[in-house]
Structures are given as C-alpha cells and as structure tokens.
C-alpha cells in the first residue's frame, strides 16, 4: 500500500513549536495563491514510522549481505563515519555564513584534497562534482578548456574503449565531443587499433585501469606515450581504484585528469543510488582550468580562489560536503597501511572467488584478475535456455545479491563480480556454493530458474508492461 492510501483527514504527525508571531493571510494576487492543496498524505507519527520501517524491510543492502556488483565497490560503510558526519559543526552550517566561521569545513576539504592528491599522484583537485559522471563531465570540460586555451581548435574527438562504463561516452557527448568506441582485444585496449585512431583531432583518451573486465591495462605505458605524442590528454575513470590502492597511482601512470568515486573506493554509503561524490584531480598544467571555488591554505587560514581560466562552477555551494567528511574520516581510519590492505585483499578476494566460480562458469581470459572479474553464462544459455538474468533472479532466493549483469557489453551473458575486501573467506565460499547450485538447477530444473525469484517479497517484476504503459505516479482512484 502506498503512503497516500494510509492517509486520514485530520491526522497529524507534526507539531510546530509555539510561536508568537501571528500568522497572516497571503497578500498576493489571487491567481498566484493555491486553490487546491497538494495531495500530501495526512498521517499520524506511528503510521509514518511503520510505513518506512516496512519499506526498509523490503530492501537488500550491504548491511544485509554480500553485494558483489562489478565496478560498484559495495564495501562496508563504517558507522563511525555516519556519526562524524552528523556532528552539528558539520550539519548545522550554511554555505554563506561568514568564511571565518567555516574554518573546520575548509580544513576538512583542504586536507581531504591533499590526501586524495597523494593517493592518486595528482597535483590539484576539485571536490565539487557530485558523482562520478559529474566528475567525468568536469574532466571533459577541463580537456576542452585546455585545448581552446592553447589554440588547438581541431580536437573534437574523445576515444573510449568499448568496455567503458556508459557514463564515459555520455559525459564526453554532453560536452560536445564526438565519441569513438574502440574495439577491445581479449578484454584489453588494442594498442594497434588505438594507434590508427590517434591524430590531431583527438582531445582525450578515457581509460579505466584496471578496466571493467577486471584486467590491468598492461600496455598503459605505451598507451600513455602514444596518446601524449599525438597531443591528446589521458583521462582516468577512477571507478576501479580499489584494486590498486597503495600500489599504483594514476598520476604515475601518466594520466592528466582523474576522477574518483568516493562512494566506491572510499566507503561512503550508496544511499539507494546517491549522493556520492566525484572529485577530479589534475596535473599542474591543468590546474588553472579547475572549477571554482578551489580551497587554498594561507597560513592558519583558508582562502577560496577562482582559478584564472576556470571552466566555471559545476554545482551550487561547495560539493557533497557530508560525503566528503565521511571519505576523510575513512582515509584517516585506514591510513597508509589500511589502504594498502584494502587493495591487496580486494584483489585476493576476487582471484579466490574467480578460481572457484570459473569451475562452472567460464571466465573468458586466463591469468589473474584485479579486484573484479567477468564470468559468462553463455554456455549455460546455449545448453539450457537459462540466461544470466534468470540466474541472477534465482540467486535472490538464496538471500544474496546477484553480480552485475550484461556489463561490460563485450562479453555475452556477462556476470561482473566484485566482492571487495570487506567480505570474508566464508562469505565467498558460500557465494560460490550458491552460484554453483543455481547453475546446477539451470540444467536440472530450468523452469524453476526461469520463473525465479520465488521467495523474495515480490516475484519477478514485469519490466515490459512497466515501460510500455508507464505509470509515473500514484493517483487517487487507481
């Protein structure tokens, strides 16, 4: 039942404090005054609590169990970070209060920036972008500004591998670039193919490393060389940074622009889809294009600066401040040794799980993976008619979350699995067992799997009708 159907006229769930300023009637032209009140529900507090408690119980979450979505890095979200972000000094502050009363906020942002620069090997950074894709957009704006500034007006193309996350080409297109998708070779960037496309029309090459197949782009030094040689810039999508924390830095790989996902690598909670945060780091020669405001230290004080050739402002106020606070707390907690463990254990977990799973679901490449790997259910599909989609739905019956399906696009019936470092060996063993059981079911009882899930709060959802005859909102009488 929706919350609107629980409404009863006359009930209230709020009581505002006593106030001694008399309420007055609106003195506005009548056509600007609302005739019909908005149809918001009238509930009492207990109904509100029960409704959202009931909704919460219908959700799977990291706090419930393993959530091995590839390239999402669904690691544990530390509770102390929530407690810190809720301190009144961090929540009860207005972006426009006098700057001298915001020293704490500026300190968090400045120090976080410095730590992230150190972790990534970059020279400066903006914390403004609200998400990874927003960071990519910002990065692309910086690339565009750079070439306009140096008078190199032919650079209209951005190259992305066909294994790239959809936001890469979408962000480049949003800034007005033409996108060329490069065919991968055995899951990696095909350097020869790349060479053919590199010319003075290319503004940037966008890479994820390790890539979305979970493989480290071994030819990165060569890729870096030829990209810079033709005058283009190299962009790093930091979604998979978890694999190389403490071992390799994108700055050292030669990237000019980098974005991070604080809600992935740096443990901030995903919140049903956001808010996250997507800081963008640059090498010194691009710092003048960063969005404003940039926070600098001046002795004991902080100043807000506008870089001389800034691309502009990319969101209101300072950025997703509570998310920045949580990420800062996380980095201080993990420290140098902790972050190195994160990378090491993330990669160990992925390889351990890959070894187990590849026994019954082929992984289309040999050798070790990084923090994630892709398995293919194509053989199962061909032999039983059961697809990756169906396997995923059946996993729900076992109380675990499926991996990412159908991504990257270059593997058929793909299942992309990233366990993260916060899952134990026992959890991984159990997950492999469950997946194996489901694959067995596909052969022995395909209908059971095709009609799954059977034990979740709701059964298989009809996506087709949902999109064919869309119902976007609740209406009385429906």
């Amino acid at each position: 039942m929706t919350i609107f159907e629980k409404s009863k006229a006359g009930r209230i769930a709020y009581r505002l404090p006593e106030n001694d300023i008399p309420t007055r009637e609106l003195d506005l032209p009548t056509h600007l005054v609302r005739k019909l009140p908005p149809e918001l529900p009238e509930l009492y507090e207990v109904d509100v609590v029960r409704h959202y408690t009931w909704l919460a119980r219908r959700n799977y979450a990291v706090d419930v169990g393993i959530y091995p979505l590839g390239s999402c890095t669904m690691k544990y979200n530390p509770k102390v970070n929530e407690k810190i972000a809720r301190l009144p000094g961090f929540t009860m502050v207005h972006p426009y209060q006098p700057e001298e009363t915001l020293r704490g906020a500026f300190e968090v942002m400045y120090e976080l920036k410095k730590l992230l620069c150190e972790i990534t090997g970059m020279d400066d950074m903006t914390l403004q972008p609200a998400a990874g894709a927003h960071g990519e957009l910002t990065g692309m704006l910086i690339v565009k500004a750079y070439f306009e500034d140096v008078g190199d007006t032919k650079r209209k193309v951005v190259i992305v591998p066909d294994s790239a996350h959809g936001t890469n080409p979408a962000s480049a297109a949003m800034v007005g670039f033409e996108v060329i998708e490069l065919k991968s070779k055995e899951g990696l960037v095909d350097v020869e193919e790349l060479k053919k496309h590199l010319n003075e029309e290319v503004a940037a090459v966008m890479l994820t490393n390790p890539n979305t197949m979970g493989l480290f782009e071994k030819d990165i030094l060569e890729i870096e060389r030829i990209t810079h040689e033709c005058g283009a810039l190299l962009y790093y999508d930091g979604a998979n940074l978890n694999a190389i924390l403490g071992r390799v830095r994108p700055g050292d790989m030669g990237f000019d622009v980098v974005h991070l996902n604080l809600h992935k690598t740096f443990s901030t909670p995903h919140g049903m889809g956001g808010p996250g945060s997507g800081p963008v780091g640059v090498k010194a020669h691009l710092a003048k294009y960063l969005p404003y405001p940039v926070i600098e230290r001046q002795g004991e004080d902080f100043v807000l600066k506008r870089p001389e050739k800034s691309v502009g402002r990319v969101r209101s106020f300072f950025g997703n401040f509570p998310v920045l606070v949580k990420a800062y707390a996380y980095i201080l907690t993990m420290g140098k040794d902790g972050l190195k463990s994160v990378g090491d254990m993330a990669v160990l977990n992925a390889n351990y799980l890959k070894k187990k799973i590849s026994k019954f679901l082929p992984v289309p490449y040999d050798g070790f993976c990084m923090h994630e790997f892709v398995a293919s259910a194509e053989k199962v599909y061909k032999e039983t008619g059961v697809r990756a989609f169906d396997l995923a739905k059946r996993l729900l019956d076992y109380g675990v979350h499926p991996p990412t399906m159908y991504f990257p696009l270059i593997v058929s019936e793909a299942l992309m699995i990233e366990p993260t470092e916060t899952e134990s060996k026992e959890t991984l063993d159990r997950y492999a067992e469950i997946l194996e059981a489901v694959v067995k079911e596909a052969y022995e009882n395909p209908e059971l799997v095709k009609k799954a899930p059977h034990t979740t709060p709701v059964r298989r959802v009809d996506d087709v009708t949902a999109s064919k005859k869309p119902v976007f909102r609740w209406r009385r009488g429906t």
Binding site: Y406, D463, V464, A466, S467, K468
Partner: protein, 123 residues
C-alpha cells in the same frame, strides 16, 4: 520485390513506394518492444541515416533508411501496440512507407538467400 540490409531492415517496393520494417531476426534480438519512435510524415532521409528508433526494456536500436526518400506514411498502430513489431515484424509490424528517390540504391541491398547467409555468418 523484397530486399534486406546488413543492419536487419527489410524493404518491399511497389512502383516507387517502399515499405520498411525490421526483420524477424532483429526483433528476436531486441526482446519485447515497448516503444517505437517514428519519423514525421514528410521528412526526407538519406540512405543510411536513422529513420526510426525501437526500444525494448533493456536496449534501444536505431533503424537505418535502406534507401533515400520521403516519408509518406507511418504505422500509427505501433503507438498503442508496439508489440506488433515482435508479433509480425514483416507484416503488421511495418514501420514506415517511403517514396523512393533513386530505385538504383536497391541494387546494393541483399536478397533473401544472401540475407539469410549473412545472419548465419554473423551469429
């Protein structure tokens, strides 16, 4: 005369008016069609340009004009019954009627046996 393209459109010509749709092979790959975005009547297209877009839940496919021409009619039934593209892709699920500018453009297209062979090789 019915011809096919390597991007899985079919075109059936009578005189200088052609009917265009997608093949059974294409609709199967797409899955359940939920929406069809048809061009405006009167629009001119060049061979190879995007003529229409077909959406399923999980994908969106561009339909390319097999020949250059002017759109004379669109299949309005698809607005409320997009599933016709799945049920009868080469019949009731037709997409667009086009007045063909240059019938010579049909020569590069595949005939049925050639198209069938192409599908086998692709898959």
């Amino acid at each position: 005369m019915k011809k096919y393209t390597k991007t899985h459109e079919w075109i059936s010509v009578e005189g200088d008016v052609a009917v265009v749709g997608i093949t059974d092979h294409a609709q199967e790959k797409l899955g359940d069609v939920v929406y069809v975005n048809l061009p405006a009547v009167g629009k001119t297209v060049k061979k190879g340009e995007v003529l229409a877009t077909i959406e399923s839940v999980k994908s969106a496919a561009d339909v390319y004009a097999p020949v250059s021409g002017e759109v004379t009619e669109v299949n309005d039934r698809l607005r409320s019954e997009p599933e016709l593209v799945n049920k009868s892709p080469e019949g009731e699920g037709w997409l667009v009627k086009v007045k063909v500018f240059d019938l010579g453009e049909l020569n590069d297209l595949l005939d049925e046996p050639a198209y069938r062979k192409f599908c086998e090789e692709e898959g």
